[in-house]
Symmetry: D2
């Protein structure tokens, strides 16, 4: 039984990460000690390192997209969402939110649990100097407190193949379920990073007739084709009008029924409003960080009779469906290829830098080698 865990700690914003040896606390009933296989390096991790999010405590152990093996269990039964018993040695992941309260007005009355006013997230909102200390995935072990929503990783899915279930795919699932996606739809996806790729994949699985991925990076657009895009458009070639015409031409003249935004760039918004067909749906899920303001034309929005849905955070259901979607479509799409870079724990700092420079599509830290 492991008694200590090495972890990469952010002492305070912008300080270099420090590898520390942390004692593993006793397991309380219902808790789980997770041996981390992969911790995904998320763009948010870079922002956290730079101290750009408010309300975040330091020191902090980053890492909220985590897959691994159950090393030990507290007393009492712990079940996954299908009511299967969690056992030592199981390969698992979990919803990155350690606590959605299901007691506040947003959770219970507004039915917007991703806006829970008491939300806590592993690797983001918890102080690693306090119990249970091992609260992020950049660590050999994580201590998952009782009530963490666990998902078993199906046998046919590798740890690399499951990594998108940590953040990108649940976000894509959430976006998809906030829009009238149905078989035969013409879909466009702005952005071919992990979230955009996963949206393309879901649209394809859901029977879309066309799926057009839009990005500026040729390698991402190539990967989009492997994840279900029937067409790709590079925004460095051609104008908004060109793209609008292209999308109409491939959809019997109507334009895309749904446009998804997964770019992180404010300027994507007016383009998305242009691209979507009249009476269509524009689903925005890529504006997680503030990239400034942008000019829109309200008359155009109004005249097009649109539904515009914005999508914040993920619920457990989205992680659950993410895992299922990967497992059921594992032979169809190259989920493992999302992981383009792999770093040992001691290079966590380098992993953040690779992510910051957008060298990787998805980098992971593998704390146990």
């Amino acid at each position: 039984m492991a008694r200590h865990s090495k972890a990469a700690v952010v002492p305070k914003p912008n300080d270099p990460l420090v590898i520390k040896d942390i004692e593993i606390p006793e397991l309380v009933p219902g808790s789980i000690l997770l041996k981390v296989a992969n911790a995904g390096v998320c763009g948010t991790d870079v922002h956290l390192w730079h101290g750009k999010l408010t309300g975040v405590p330091y020191p902090l152990i980053l890492g909220h997209e985590v897959v691994g093996t159950v090393e030990d269990l507290g007393s009492g039964q712990t079940k996954d969402l299908d009511a299967g018993q969690i056992e030592i040695g199981d390969r698992v992941t979990f919803h990155d939110v350690t606590k959605t309260c299901y007691s506040c007005w947003n959770c219970l009355v507004a039915k917007a649990p991703t806006k829970c006013t008491n939300r806590e997230v592993y690797g983001i909102t918890r102080d690693s100097s306090k119990f249970p200390f091992l609260i992020g995935g950049y660590s050999e072990y994580m201590y998952l407190t009782p009530g963490t929503h666990m998902m078993s990783i199906p046998e046919n899915v590798s740890f690399n193949g499951a990594i998108s279930a940590g953040c990108a795919l649940p976000t894509a699932v959430h976006a998809a379920t906030r829009s009238p996606l149905t078989w035969g739809a013409n879909v466009a996806v702005q952005g071919a990073g992990p979230v955009g790729l996963m949206i393309a994949m879901i649209a394809k699985v859901n029977g879309a007739r066309t799926v057009t991925s839009i990005d500026q990076a040729p390698n991402r657009l190539e990967l989009a084709e492997e994840f279900g895009a029937t067409h790709t458009l590079n925004i460095r070639e051609g104008t908004v009008e060109d793209r609008k015409k292209f999308l109409r031409d491939i959809s019997n003249g109507h334009g895309p029924d749904i446009v998804y935004e997964a770019t992180g760039a404010a300027r994507a918004i007016p383009e998305g409003i242009e691209l979507v067909r009249e009476g269509g749906t524009y689903t925005i899920c890529g504006q997680y960080t503030d990239s400034g303001t942008v000019e829109v034309r309200p008359h155009l929005m109004n005249r097009k009779h649109l539904d515009i849905r914005t999508v914040w955070g993920t619920e457990t259901v989205h992680v659950y469906r993410a895992i299922k979607t990967i497992a059921e479509n594992y032979d169809r799409f190259p989920f493992e290829k999302l992981v383009t870079h792999r770093f040992p724990l001691r290079d966590a700092q380098k992993a953040l830098e690779a992510q910051e420079k957008l060298i990787s599509i998805k980098a992971v830290i593998a704390p146990n080698g």
Copy 2:
């Protein structure tokens, strides 16, 4: 039986209106000759006079919000939407759209009939030099072609009381049905012109807990209170932050569940996004004409997890529900007070000018005195 009709004709954009005497064509089967009681003067009429809408033919007889009496009927039976027989002498109104094709992709597949690609509108898209000539309400008589969707005006409703059913109230009905309005909701309405007033009224009828009207004209805000607003805010007093705080304070700290935009001003959009609560709905129906661009912050939109619905045009169902809503709530709200000015046909020109200067809330032309 009338054989001629005086009508105010716009010869070409910006030319003064000319009163002409036009011969009434024979009534074909299913057609109706309407003796006009009131023709509402819509802001769009001013734009049409100035030639600001594309695809509009001239000469043109304005007037698409019309109530009147059936003067004569073509052969065959003509029924209203409740399958009641239309008879000579009946007080009626009609959907201003003379033709939604219910044959095109937008009508039948996208189920967005207000985006019908073959749409024609009385008083807007038809050439008054061609059969049936009398195609607008600034005229003693209108010739309603077969298939026009007719609504009987209930006995308890006067012609003045019915005028909002011509345009403002159906727009409000459409906006309301595009948002999750339900009893107990906290609602804010940007704008207290005819559309905004009618939205306030519907929210109240639908059991809203608070209805806050926001405008800059004190007389409009006073009228809003008569139409159901529980609170009013003058945008000339205080900041966006003040209004946001006020709206939270009256809703247990949560903010409005739904904000409706009915202003015509682009700058209302970023304010509306600020005001609506997290997870709420922002319904935009006031940007019918192009008032330019405005800066929005995509991150704020995304973080608030919003539904933003834009609302274009009206369907027959909205006019039907408008008439029913007026009749059922006639004692509760002062529908007749919406008509603040009344002009004879010869003063149609002056009516347009009064509307342009926003002197009136709703002016009507009464071609038959």
Copy 3:
């Protein structure tokens, strides 16, 4: 500070209730000691007394519809759903479900928390011989465990006026939100017991054009009129065809848009299917106990192109909206009149018998006089 509480205990099914003196346990952090003002006597309580529900432990203290005063608080802050601090002396109620797990598949994936597989209900599923003992409302005091969802009772609402928020009104709220209720609707309600009365009231508050209550008890139909019914029908007078015709005649020939079932009688179902208009919605919430089978005609169901929604249990949001609805409409409807009978704790047995014989509309037990 109270140290003991008298409670009426059901020793085992069908045994007479016994008044016992029970020691009040120490208050753990987050718990609340409630001094019971009123405990509603629900039809389910009679079934529980007779041992008709499976999985119910005995001894049992009945009473899941409870209003009262906060006698004492465990350490730590306890908030109501609007994030207001709960203080000693506050008048409160709570969601009767002590525990919806928000961890199981039904809660999180199916989003059907009323089908939570770990659900526990005060006064129904907990054994009064185990901590915290005081788990039902037929008792001077109740011990509310941490996490119980609390609602403050507004100042303008008396304890009697709030009693419907315990069970009948949340059920009605749930039924209403499972159907496309909107202003101007024509609504029929089968049954004028507490649930049916509350549905009629909500339909009225929500702007229904007609609300027709259907029952066999004249006194209930009279009360229905006080709670918003615009029309009533006694099923002892006339046939299904008569009622169908009546409902069409008052709705321009179309029939009710929504029919709600709140009867408890299986035979109501085929009648409801007959009464609702083509394309309408039939919402079934009154079949909580098994009243046997009934014959339906599938072809008729299919031909009418219906939505049939069944409604099980209540969520916290429904109790929250119930309390708000009462407070906002307190002057409009006689909420206090629902309580027709009032019994001291020692007569709890008599209260059950009155309920069983349907003498009362709503009886309450007032354990503290």
Copy 4:
């Protein structure tokens, strides 16, 4: 140019079909003369032959599922739903409803156009002794009146491959769009006739995780597997409880999210209610003819917290999506295999008898050989 058309006429109910030679009327503007390739033999045709539908005029030419070639066009432009020009020689189909009025309350207010009170259907509700005479598909030529909603048959689809678009697949599309079908769903389909097969296919295209077809005919269940069923159940083997257990076992213990009924047998209804999971959706579209009453248990319906949707008729959108679905998935599913029998016009009588005895899955009449 053809001047006459041979047609199989039903002189009156139960009389043998008579082959008549009928003069083709002049083509009015907007009309189309269709050279019939295949006319599907629908179960309804048998009922029509026996005079079992009310309000049907005789003599009658049967045939409402028709594909063919444009032989001639009236003057004026005729477009398909994608606004493509219809030309002589085009391979086309059309919505079997010749007239949905889009003027009545059901069409415009209730938005239930399949309940249009003025609905007319080719091959069913029109008298073949009156203009335009050639109103059914059991005929060399059909005369399609102006306004018939036309769909072009894509190049990759044969006439046999398109036949399901006539009735079975649009019904399946309608059923699918009346239920929350989404990728990853567990679906069960009662009945593996043409409608049930097409529902299975759509569920698969839409990314269902499991699709279980239930029938009693082994050949139909075999075909179901070719149309996407992942599992099949023969109701002659095992009990309802067995099937319920099977469906739970393949869905992580939860049971099917959606059950579709497409059997025509009343007894399917209580079984469907048993099979669907708690909180799931039961969609009934197979009870087009009256097969009597059946006993259901309202308490079970209520306790399961269900949505039950019934589905009547088809709209043009469903035919449009049917054609698109066939074309886009033509290589994936054996659409041509649905046509198991083919009859010349002179054997129309035999075709009805084959359908009545359920020998065929889908028989067609090929009037031009």
